[in-house]
Amino acid sequence: MSPQVYRVVVNGELGPRYASAFEGMTISAASGKTEITGTIMDQSHLLGLLERISGLGLKLHSVTPLDNGNGESGTHHAPTTRS
């Protein structure tokens, strides 16, 4: 099972308050959106992150897996291992 880097984008630029909201992820806000980037271990982790976003009243824009060179990997699939 290999973890995968994901870039999750939400609408609106998030301020410093949200720095602690997403453990282990990097937050960067620009152009009316906020990118939450980091290594996702597996399906549960990904779903947990999406639930956290929903619970904070944020609007999900996109979820994109990145290849290790930080470019997009082309296909929108989540880590295949179920946990």
């Binding site: 939400v10 630029e13 949200y18 929903s54 904070l56």
Partner: protein
């Protein structure tokens, strides 16, 4: 009860009318993200309508089908006594599918007759397949007088597509729930905010009508000199809406109030006194009172203004400001305060939220009897299973009492054995921690569950428990006596079993130990009934059942002994209908997923009673089930002897019933009368049921006797039953 509505909330007539309009559809789902005012809308709709409401707020802790339907059945009981009883009884029958309880609940709702609304708030927190399946099952069977309203943050997997196609579903989604410009105007006017038309449109556009955003905006704008200018700045900003507005609202607060909000946000739910203790203040009551009046994000949880919480979203965002350490510190202080106030469960919740497993372990140990004797077994077991294994090993009483709780709710034996295994390991690795109290607790649990179907071993465990109890666990004695008595009863040692049961019942602390007390009384009922003292048996049984009902143990397996004893007593007194009813109830309460000695015994008593009642085919089936189970027990005690007696009695009854040849096959009309007779109806009632005259009933009956070669009604019924002429679906219930 539906939570209360804050006076600052806008009355959304448009949506209330939409809800009214959908009254014809069985299920209405309000489906939108957090902050869309779903709960508030349903609350205010319920308050304004005269129909009865059963309101359930779901949460992940309650994600258990049995718990869900227990809440609903209890809610129905509040509407009318007796309406929920069928459902509660079905839920008390272990091994029975939850759908049976759902059906009973639907029956209860039909009996109520008047319109009822069932509200399932926060349906998205339900993810267990069993719960979802039961909800789907319920939707298919909703009576005409019942309406189901569910609020959720995401589409629940309950077959919405199919329901939409059949027009059995009404949906109110984000698009409908969003504020219109008109509604935004109403809100702003209500808050005394003067905005230009253009500004209102900007505001609604920027927030996309998100109600939480608009309420935050109202809080922010009402104290400003130039609201229009601020709105323009807001509209032009790229910041996320909630983040921007929370900043503005917090900045405008007095620093002291802001500090109060931030620090109390980690508490989940709180009282003024709790806030004082955690924050080191003395004016929390005043602060909260003021906040509750001016700020609709503070929710009063009860009518007396004692418990409060923040709106979920507001609380979540506020908590982000504090670091993890600060939050933990506040929660630990809250736990300590709750503990000092005797609010044990709240103390445990706060400790768990603070990650303080040592405190959780300490509290569970200190109050384990409270939980077990108070019937709070599910939570207790859950917390024990949450603890890290190091704590379980260093405090062996934890896994042991967990095993006791698990046994009382008839968890699968493998789960109980896992907890015993942890305890055994603790004993091997740290024998100095193994006290007589822990020893008593282990042995009594093993005795009570007749572990592994070994009656002889159960007696041994019981005796060991007695020895250990004398050495240092006096308060456990009632339970120990009851378990030993039961083991001896199954071993066939009725005299000693009786002596010990009497000792249990006569102890002054017996009423404090519901399981032991009810169990001992039930055993006395059984023993006295078997030994021919029916009057005394009945008295013991009724005492046990009354006591069980008072202490909500009525649906626990412990009460089954009393029902079985009562059944035998009634059978001796020839009150056969009552006997069968009680025996059925006793058997149902003892049912588990795996065969147990207790259940096999219940089946034998049921068979016995049914033979007396000439229900020979059923009795034969009960006997067969019992014998199959008994064959697998390593030491079934006296059960084989009882089974042999039942078998002989059955054979004799079958011979008598089958002795004479069937003279002639009864006609369908005559069989209909026969079924009526078997069900205990009078001839007059049979005539009414079948729309025939009393004389016709009498002549059919005469013909039945002739054709069956019977000389009496009991004879005719027995003969017909033995020949399989009675329908299997017919039963006293």
């Amino acid at each position: 009860m539906p939570p209360r509505v804050h006076p600052g909330m806008l009355r959304r007539a448009r949506l209330l009318e939409m809800l009214d309009g959908e009254g014809g559809t069985p299920l209405t789902v309000l489906n939108a993200a957090v902050g869309y005012g779903k709960t508030t809308l349903v609350r205010s709709w319920c308050i304004e309508r005269p129909e009865a409401v059963i309101w359930i707020t779901l949460d992940p802790v309650d994600d258990d089908a049995a718990r869900l339907w227990t809440h609903l059945a209890t809610g129905l009981e509040r509407l009318g006594q007796g309406l929920g009883r069928g459902a509660l009884a079905a839920l008390g029958t272990r091994g029975a599918p939850v759908e049976a309880a759902v059906d009973e609940l639907m029956n209860g709702l039909v009996r109520h007759g008047r319109p009822v609304t069932i509200v399932l708030d926060d349906l998205h927190t339900v993810s267990s397949e069993a719960s979802l399946r039961s909800i789907r099952h319920a939707i298919e069977r909703l009576p005409a007088n019942v309406r189901l309203l569910a609020s959720t943050r995401s589409d629940p997997p309950i077959g919405l597509g199919r329901l939409r196609a059949r027009r059995a579903l009404a949906e109110i989604r984000a698009r409908e729930l969003a504020f219109t410009v008109d509604e935004a105007c109403q809100l702003l006017v209500h808050e005394g905010i003067a905005l230009s038309g253009e500004s209102v449109e900007l505001l609604v556009e920027r927030t996309e009508g998100w109600p939480a955003g608009l309420y935050l905006a109202a809080l922010w704008l009402r104290d400003l000199d130039d609201p229009n200018g601020e709105v323009r700045a807001f509209a032009g900003s790229a910041r996320e809406v909630g983040d921007y507005l929370t900043d503005e609202v917090l900045t405008a607060l007095a620093p002291d109030t802001r500090d109060f909000l931030l620090r109390t946000s980690v508490l989940g739910r709180f009282t003024p006194d709790l806030c004082d203790a955690v924050l080191g203040r003395s004016d929390s009551a005043a602060v909260l009172g003021q906040l509750a009046r001016s700020n609709m994000f503070l929710v009063a949880l009860d009518a007396r203004g004692e418990w409060y919480r923040y709106h979920h979203l507001f609380g979540e965002v506020l908590q982000l400001e504090l670091g993890g350490d600060a939050a933990h510190g506040l929660r630990r202080r809250a736990a300590a305060w709750c503990r000092a106030q005797g609010l044990v469960e709240d103390a445990i919740e706060f400790s768990a939220a603070a990650g303080d497993s040592e405190m959780v372990a300490e509290l569970l140990l200190e109050h384990h009897l409270q939980f077990i004797w108070g019937g709070r077994l599910g939570q207790f077991l859950g917390w024990i299973q949450w603890l890290p294994s190091e704590l379980l090993l260093s405090h062996p009483l934890l896994p042991v009492s967990g095993a006791a709780a698990a046994a009382l709710v008839s968890r699968p034996e493998v789960e109980i054995q896992r907890l015993f295994a942890v305890a055994d390991r603790a004993r091997r690795e740290q024998p100095q921690l193994w006290s007589p109290y822990v020893e008593t607790a282990v042995e009594v649990t093993r005795a009570e569950m007749i572990e592994g179907g070994d009656v002889g071993a159960a007696v041994e465990h019981g005796r060991r428990a007695m020895t250990a109890a004398r050495a240092g666990a006096d308060m456990l004695t009632v339970g120990v006596l009851a378990s030993l008595s039961q083991a001896l009863f199954f071993a066939g040692d009725l005299d000693e079993a009786r002596q010990i049961a009497v000792a249990a019942v006569e102890r002054p602390d017996a009423p404090e130990v519901p399981d032991g007390h009810v169990g001992a009384l039930g055993l006395l009922a059984l023993i006295d009934a078997e030994q021919g003292r029916s009057g005394s048996a009945e008295a013991w049984a009724r005492q046990a059942i009354g006591f069980a009902r008072q202490r909500f143990q009525a649906d626990s397996w412990v009460a089954s002994l009393a029902h079985l004893g009562l059944a035998l007593a009634c059978a001796s007194a020839d009150r056969l209908d009552e006997a069968e009813r009680e025996a059925v109830r006793g058997e149902r309460l003892r049912r588990t997923q795996q065969p147990t000695v207790g259940h096999a015994h219940a089946l034998l008593v049921l068979a016995q009673v049914r033979i007396a009642r000439s229900r020979l085919a059923r009795a034969a089936r009960d006997l067969q089930h019992a014998q199959r189970a008994i064959a697998d027990f390593p030491d079934p005690g006296r059960l084989p002897a009882i089974a042999a007696t039942v078998e002989q009695t059955l054979a004799a009854a079958q011979t008598i019933a089958g002795k004479r040849e069937l003279v002639e096959e009864p006609s369908p009309a005559e069989l209909a009368v026969l079924r009526g007779l078997a069900a205990g109806l009078s001839r007059r009632e049979i005539g009414a049921e079948l729309y025939i005259s009393l004389n016709t009933v009498k002549s059919h009956t005469r013909e039945l006797y002739r054709k069956l070669g019977a000389t009496s009604q009991v004879d005719a019924v027995a003969r017909a039953d033995a020949l399989g002429l009675l329908e299997p679906s017919e039963s006293p219930g």
